[in-house]
Symmetry: D2
């Protein structure tokens, strides 16, 4: 009789290699799926560390362990265009600080996995997320929305698995015993997750929120202290709130979404832009500490906020800020991308961005992002002569007297009431 097929989100690391083997031993036909949402391109110029992912090696390893197949899916374009760019359009941020780098990748990874599972007729999907984090929730809610009938095998929540593999040594023993190749790299005292937009660090020594992240932890960006002494300038052009062109200091114009994103990353990485350190509130109600690098996205988001000042109506902006930005970020963080509310909000984002057309001249320097200037050829809401303090123009100063008088009606009543009650302002 044919075995049931299960599709595992496979990273190539120790955890998912052991899970792969264990599920095979549990009697499944296993498919490994590895999403290529990260990149080996554009390492920080001045960094001597190297970052490359070897997808073919991972595939070979999965097959060696016993997977019946291994899919490598390149989801970089959909990750950037469907997730990162809407996040830029609404200036998404969680708890004032976190740009959602990990959260943004989960929906596309989950969708790629479900596609493989559907193509191969899998009865279940599996992942290597731990039982206390956000990612298990993000993956599984996506799985269930994408295919409500799917089953999910989460070994780290199964007693038969987590009781057997109580620590890293148990995994190493199992790997040795079952012939799983283990890289010689010494384990870092923190865990890490990286994609094209972002690298996160948590757990281990970082669990003490008062321990400063060690300088050699940061992987994507140069330490601001070691970044170039000369600022680097560039220009980002937006259409309907989407980054459409990046012009480098040398004048090179990049218009392809993926290339543009990679270039923004490269610029930010070599100038140390995009590091944060935060204690955040997970969906399940625990607080956790994370250190994040989000180089290019930090620049794109900041530039987008700037251009909105020039071209977006005040009230549309205020409504979008209070309503869409906050909730889009919360929805993404909590893993509710595939949901009616995200669809709803995304239509509101698009509706808000019609006039967000223009370009921003940006500067990065030793960890700083700053604005040099901005302009728009098509949008005319800003009117230098009208807002000028030096010109009277068509605008009558007397009108403002009436404006203030009417605004004061309510406040005078309030002042009188305070007075009558003997209260002081």
């Amino acid at each position: 009789m044919a075995k049931d097929k299960v599709c595992l989100a496979y990273s190539g690391g120790l955890d998912t290699s052991c899970i792969l083997k264990w599920l095979i031993e549990e009697g499944y036909d296993m498919l490994a799926k590895k999403a290529r949402s990260s990149t080996c391109k554009s390492p920080p110029k001045s960094a001597n560390k190297l970052f490359t992912e070897d997808f073919q090696a991972a595939k070979a390893k999965a097959l060696k362990i016993g997977a019946v197949a291994c899919y490598i899916e390149d989801i970089r374009r959909e990750f950037i265009e469907e997730l990162c760019f809407p996040a830029v359009q609404c200036n998404a941020v969680y708890e004032n600080i976190y740009l959602l780098g990990t959260s943004l990748a989960r929906p596309v990874i989950a969708r790629a996995q479900i596609k493989v599972a559907q193509k191969e007729g899998c009865i279940a999907v599996s992942h290597g997320c731990t039982g206390k984090g956000n990612d298990q929730v993000r993956f599984e809610l996506a799985f269930y929305a994408l295919q409500p009938s799917i089953k999910v095998i989460a070994p780290w929540r199964l007693p038969e698995f987590y009781e057997r593999f109580a620590g890293r040594n148990d995994l190493l023993d199992y790997a040795a015993k079952t012939g799983i190749p283990v890289s010689s790299t010494k384990s870092k005292p923190w865990s890490m997750d990286e994609n094209l937009a972002h690298c996160s660090y948590e757990a281990g020594i970082l669990e003490d929120p008062d321990v400063t992240a060690p300088a050699d932890m940061w992987k994507l960006t140069v330490d601001p202290l070691n970044a170039p002494d000369k600022p680097e300038d560039f220009t980002i052009v937006f259409e309907k709130g989407l980054p459409k062109k990046l012009i480098t200091a040398e004048g090179k114009a990049i218009t392809d979404s993926v290339e543009l994103f990679l270039e923004a990353n490269a610029i930010a990485r070599r100038n140390g832009v995009g590091r944060v350190d935060i204690v955040e509130n997970r969906f399940i109600g625990l607080k956790s500490r994370g250190c994040y690098e989000t180089p290019g996205l930090t620049c794109l988001r900041s530039a987008h906020i700037d251009i909105e000042g020039l071209v977006l109506d005040r009230e549309v902006r205020a409504l979008r800020d209070q309503f869409v930005t906050f909730n889009y970020a919360k929805i993404l963080y909590n893993g509710l991308y595939f949901s009616p509310e995200r669809e709803f909000l995304e239509e509101s984002i698009v509706a808000s961005q019609k006039t967000v057309n223009g370009q921003v001249r940006c500067r990065v320097y030793k960890g700083n992002f700053s604005i040099l200037g901005r302009s728009s050829e098509t949008e005319k809401l800003y009117d230098a002569s009208e807002s000028s303090m030096d010109e009277i123009g068509a605008f009558s100063p007397k009108d403002t007297t009436g404006f203030i008088s009417v605004q004061a009606i309510r406040l005078k009543k309030y002042g009188e009431a305070k007075e009558a009650k003997g209260e002081r302002l």
Copy 2:
């Protein structure tokens, strides 16, 4: 017969000196009032420019012009404790960027002016704000709430004044003719407003939003490019969300509000922290471009956001972020400090900050502010072992399965509906 008395907000500059004279000529007994909300202390160490305000010289000048009295009011403590600190407590920010430096000063300046007016029995108050800006609104709404019966004389909105003084040269001529002393300082091609928390630059060459602010414009902070090559670390201690102690790199502990604020300023100024450049939406509906320096407040606010991660409940934070932060900033920006809604929100701020107790270790470096770590002796919402990925603890991983299953009920329905309608996710 006694003349009517008017109290003028007097800066000592050309504009308000001419207004003072003109109002005297109009037949009023004039009182000049100058609020000391700015400071000459702690100029940036590495800056060779000098910044001092000579209050006694301003007073002498007002009396020389003909004021019957000149009041110098020191409102620095109330400015910091009543305005800046609540802004820190709710992380106030307008349109994502502006920390409200100018807006925060207006209520206390207006209140000081009304106090003088009441003491002296003035029938009106006057100011030198232009007819297109926010400050006229902020001052006058405060005046009317504080004393609903007060009259306001706004010369820049009176045709008899603004038609006579159409440009700077008209003012200079008038000063020459009427013996008003004019400093030899050449006028800068922008206007400036400074207080203890902030310096703003706008108008003139800045009215083109694509013109980069010149390096010699910035007055409070050192250019990040010229800031020290070594980071500077310090610690801020919060109680109920209020900055209660600042510990310098040398270990000096400062607890007095004013001293603490000045020290935060000094640290940030010499390290180039707190510059922004923004096109913002004024209350009256015009867009305008401003460049702002808000050194110490930038650090205090960022540190406060950080400590909230450790000690503030997720849902209280979310409600406060979406509701209080946004609206408090809008209210302050629009000059509605003395209003029922500000009183209402301020009680909510206090209610939200009960557990915001702890300390943040901060670093500034060439324009950057970053976090080194944070801790709290009294608050225990963060629990390293419970959030640890390496420990099972009291928490059962199986519970999360149920949590996700229940969260998925609604999403499965949604996925099924999509499927039934032939739509893709």
Copy 3:
């Protein structure tokens, strides 16, 4: 030389007739425009009062007074489809009670007036609104958005007019003197404004908010005390949140928007549904008391709220309620229909209503509106067997244990903190 043309919003009543004459005397060529947004159809069956507007008589009167032309514009369809129906879709309500009946009509009336003004080459538009109300703001903001160069003549804010016509008697004298026909109807001790959706009553004796509205004031609806002793049932069918069909008790199906709206009105009017009495906050900051009748719209809105329970996702609903409903109502109330923010919100409304398909069986009885039942053929979010308390179904009760445990993580921390601080819950 040709005279300047002005287009006046003309009601045919005493006020606008005098304004018409006065503007002619001021030297303008006047065009009267009367919008047909009200109706004489469907008077309440059991009411013995009669309500008809004679548009031709109004036109004749305008021409007799000296208007060079009088336009009667039928804007009922656009009023219902462009204004009333979006209000239904988002359940719009101002300050919990007011269904915006007057506010909804203003944009279409203003647009019709601007069209006439543009066609006739008018230099200005005029209206008879008083200087303290909302309607002047609503009309003029619409005028300025629709044609930024237009001038507005608001006689009740011109001293030369309002000082001359200080009371009703001055208007009557002027009418007598200038030959303006005056109806013999004795003036009511309140003012009234009526359109197809709504009739409002304010001013006069109603200015004392403790005076009960007299029974003979209400014009559109039968007194609930005199309404039929038998309930009347009907069904409303919604598609994408829009009322698409009304099925009467007799089984007649009405699908045309205008006819459907008139039928809803007729049913509600004869059963006394839709009366409210409110003290509300005007845009200019004054409080005012209004009595409103909004018969059909009350039923359509209540039915719409009900169907959303069955077919709209919880989170979409919550976001829409908190964000769109509140703000759409505020925007309409304040006269900001022609604005970027209304356009933005309206796209969000549409995005929220995709699944709002189904029908509601309604009952009206002596002022009450109630729900008999609801169903949807296309939407399946409600699942009787799944929500059934009597069936276990696919849903595992054990999952809920995990759901609650995870929800409790944060609350246990909170309980422990309270305990540690010696506080009681």
Copy 4:
């Protein structure tokens, strides 16, 4: 060895009687706790059905089944003062319709149960809620916040219980076998939950949302069709937003909270006020249909909304409506009463209600609640002469021209941009 003690929320009905027995058989020492949050006072005059709860009979039954003790706790005052009145103060409503009658009772019932459990040294608490509803969540989240170490036994989520008792007949068999007395009352084809504020009906035949609730289902209120033909008037006096006095048609003044609430109930019940029928969204993500009667609370809330119109500042009201009302209701509905966010919001409610002082004259008639008038002796925000259309007063109509002109600045820009892009408004 002593047995472990468990405290059960005991209603006296079939379900909790069987649970009581079953837990005794499982080896626990059982304590029954019955909260007196309902009332037998004031049955609807014109109703021939009788509603009384016999607490002593329930206690005798519990002891007969084998409970070691049975506590009857009267929590009516805390229910009204701590839960119902804050709900009135913030006009709490869930999904536009549901006044939270059941949700409001849960926190006080849970607290009373924990008190008994703590006094008796119980290791666990238990309840008879089903596994799909809201109430299990509300009870258990309250338990865990009140005593984080408590255990919860939820039999309807334990397979050993729910698989044994698959239907009502299994319970009846068990009762017969174990000697549990069963009332002869035939089971209704719906389930019911009642407290002092409210009665809810759901499940059974009501699970089809298109089935009209049968006339004989409603228990608290008279059918509007059978209610008196004469309206009944009464007055409610508020202080700081709290109902402080109710004056009946006969002039009787009631000031005690419980008595006042009971009187409001009695008036509303005999006049058929407070019935609703809704499909709502449960916390766990299912939709469910409920029919609710909330007589007195409906009147108190509506009167409170009315008085706020007269005495509450516009902006405080708007902030409270958008922020507090929505979230307080959601928090209560989801069972998060004992939470930091509820504490936070409740302080905001109090802060918003300082000026909510005054009285409302109300009328009920055949299911309708309406307002006759309102007044306040202490609050003066409403000013008849100032808002009067007939008086110019201190207010200059010309000011409004300036107000509108300034409001129009932004809209003219928008109109011009539309025109330039060839778009129509």
